[in-house]
């Protein structure tokens, strides 16, 4: 993904170099699953597929938190809405099997509607008050998913919905090995390419948004809402738009998750997941698209590295498992979050303006320095 940013940067200066970089980048991304698959095995390929989903989520949340500066801690609710919509419309649960090209956009729209539902009453709230309300909203959605199995069974409660149709386009299903031109690729590879295509589409949309009138309006609201208002920005609509856009990305990612996983349950959408996506955005570099992508990749891969490492390393060092690997892995993960933020408070890859602002160190209020 690093080369992506470079190629994007280069685009503006030199077209030929840019085309070369894009082709190289494309080839690398195309070959990537085969390298991973042969070097590390299919379980890692699955993790890479998940990383792509998380990138979509992180980019969606980045619109709300990074661009518009609205701290949303219940973002996973939109992911849940997308996932459950897919699960209910394409599984034996209701006996419905609608096509994917219908469900995914419907998920985006429904999540967007939820975004407005959350955004509209919270427009007056600021900063941390907004954080707790969005957090409550996320919990409310999860609790409803958990309990809507009685009196009418809608979500099947804590057991979740299983047997969800895999993603299928036209007559092709991604769940079975695909053969194209005599060349067979496995299901995980097929999902990779499909997710990659959608992730790239979302990256493209966010980049275009960032440099649009709307994107500039978001940044203006983030920096100073009153000034933005006095410049003629309709802050209400623009904020609602941020919530809606961010939510709809989450809805798309949720639908993909349901199709990929084949199973959804309320447990996948707890508060910790929201917090995780928020960490991706902030740790990567809030508001900076390549940074957010980096954050998404790192925070998906890192726990898995620790998971695979925690047991065997202990075996090698002490000859037995001394510490619970599961606890150790999250412990290391927590430490990693702390250490990264201590050494790079503006994120791993902040945008150039933010970095400059941060170095410029306004001294007006040393302690409560604003966002």
């Amino acid at each position: 993904m690093m080369t992506l940013a470079h190629s994007l940067g280069a685009w503006r200066c030199d077209k030929r170099a840019a085309i070369a970089a894009t082709i190289a980048m494309g080839l690398m991304l195309a070959a990537f699953p085969f390298m991973i698959g042969s070097a590390l095995g299919n379980s890692w390929l699955r993790i890479v597929d998940f990383a792509l989903l998380y990138i979509m989520l992180a980019l969606g949340l980045n619109i709300v938190v990074g661009f518009a500066g609205l701290l949303d801690m219940g973002y996973i609710a939109f992911y849940a809405v997308g996932a459950y919509l897919y699960a209910l419309l394409a599984s034996p649960h209701f006996g419905l099997h609608l096509p994917v090209w219908l469900i995914i956009p419907a998920g985006a729209v429904l999540a967007g509607v939820f975004g407005v539902l959350l955004g509209a009453p919270t427009l007056r709230l600021r900063g941390d008050y907004l954080a707790i309300v969005t957090l409550g909203f996320g919990e409310i959605v999860r609790i409803f998913l958990n309990n809507l199995n009685a009196p009418v069974n809608i979500t099947n409660g804590p057991q979740g919905v299983s047997g969800i149709d895999p993603i299928h386009l036209g007559g092709i299903t991604l769940a079975k090995p695909l053969s194209i031109l005599g060349f067979t690729i496995s299901s995980l590879h097929a999902y990779y390419y499909f997710f990659l295509a959608l992730a790239l589409l979302i990256v493209f949309i966010t980049i275009r948004l960032e440099n649009s009138r709307i994107g500039r309006a978001w940044v203006a609201i983030r920096e100073d809402e009153i000034a933005a208002k006095s410049c003629g920005i309709n802050t209400r609509n623009i904020k609602l738009l941020a919530f809606t856009m961010g939510a709809s990305f989450g809805g798309v990612a949720g639908g993909l998750f349901a199709g990929f996983q084949g199973f959804v349950s309320p447990e996948s959408f707890n508060l910790m997941e929201s917090v995780m996506v928020l960490c991706m955005v902030v740790l990567g570099g809030m508001g900076n698209i390549p940074g957010v992508i980096l954050g998404g990749i790192l925070l998906t891969i890192l726990p898995e590295v620790f998971r695979h490492g925690a047991g065997p390393v202990q075996m090698a060092l002490f000859g037995k498992i001394l510490l619970d690997p599961e606890a150790l892995r999250m412990l290391l993960f927590g430490l990693a979050l702390i250490v990264v933020m201590l050494y790079r408070p503006a994120g791993l890859w902040p945008s150039t303006t933010r970095r400059r602002e941060f170095r410029g160190e306004s001294t007006t209020d040393a302690l409560k320095e604003g966002e």
């Binding site: 009196p151 009153i226 430490l335 979050l337």
Partner: protein, 307 residues
Amino acid sequence: MDIFIQQIINGLVLGSIYALVALGYTMVYGIMGLINFAHGEIVMIGAMVALTVVKLLVNSGLPVFIIILIALAGAVAVCMAVGYSIERIAYRPLRRAPKLAPLITAIGVSIVLQNLAMLIWGRNYHAFPPILPDAQFDIYGATITSLQVTIVLIAALMMAGLIVLIHRTRLGRAMRATSENPLIAQLMGVNINQIISFTFVIGSALAAVAGLMVSANYSIVHFYMGFMLGLKAFTAAVLGGIGNIAGAVLGGILLGLIESLGAGYIGDLTGGFLGSHYQDVFAFFVLICVLIFRPSGLVGEKISERA
């Protein structure tokens, strides 16, 4: 009617615990403008330490009162140390950083503490040994245990003590000055580093007491218990108006009452459509409604539109 009174009693007990924890959130927020996400874990650590001490001493023949006192002292000491170190390690270096950076370290600390507890105490639920006297009183058909009375009394006492500390002592004045404007407070000779550390230590001590109360009253201790409790207490602090001491107390007790009354009556209110497992929805719903009409909490000051 007796059910109503019973729910009020349960709500008061739960609310006092929420209030104690909410005070920790609100004090830190008032001084640093930071959501101390790890505060719930401090409560959990307090509960764990207290439980360990009680289990060690339960067969020692000491009187129950002394055992509880020792457990409390141990929990308070450990929590103070943890609170102090968290601030030194994870928050102090980030005071000048962008606002969300300390939030992420706070989340990191919370994850670390949770898993550290899991490593030390295992992932099982621990039951609190039944050593406490279980005298029960009858009030109009509802029962209240001596433990519940003690919890409410101690919580009230501690809150009163805190308010005296903040409004009547030199230290309290320094705390209020720091929360008003740290830079000017510093110019007036306040050592703000010391004050901030002190705030964390006090908040952690309150959390330790709350931890012991939770484990004794609900008799269950688990490495994950701090998360939901912290969340609720934070909700309570926001409900009252975060940064405001009286607000935290009010919010905590209100939230406790809302929750237990909600759990008791939500079924009747919705004609049996929503059961008692929707009590959390109820709590958050009330929070959202309050914030729509009073965006800075029940007794929070009006936030000036930042220029």
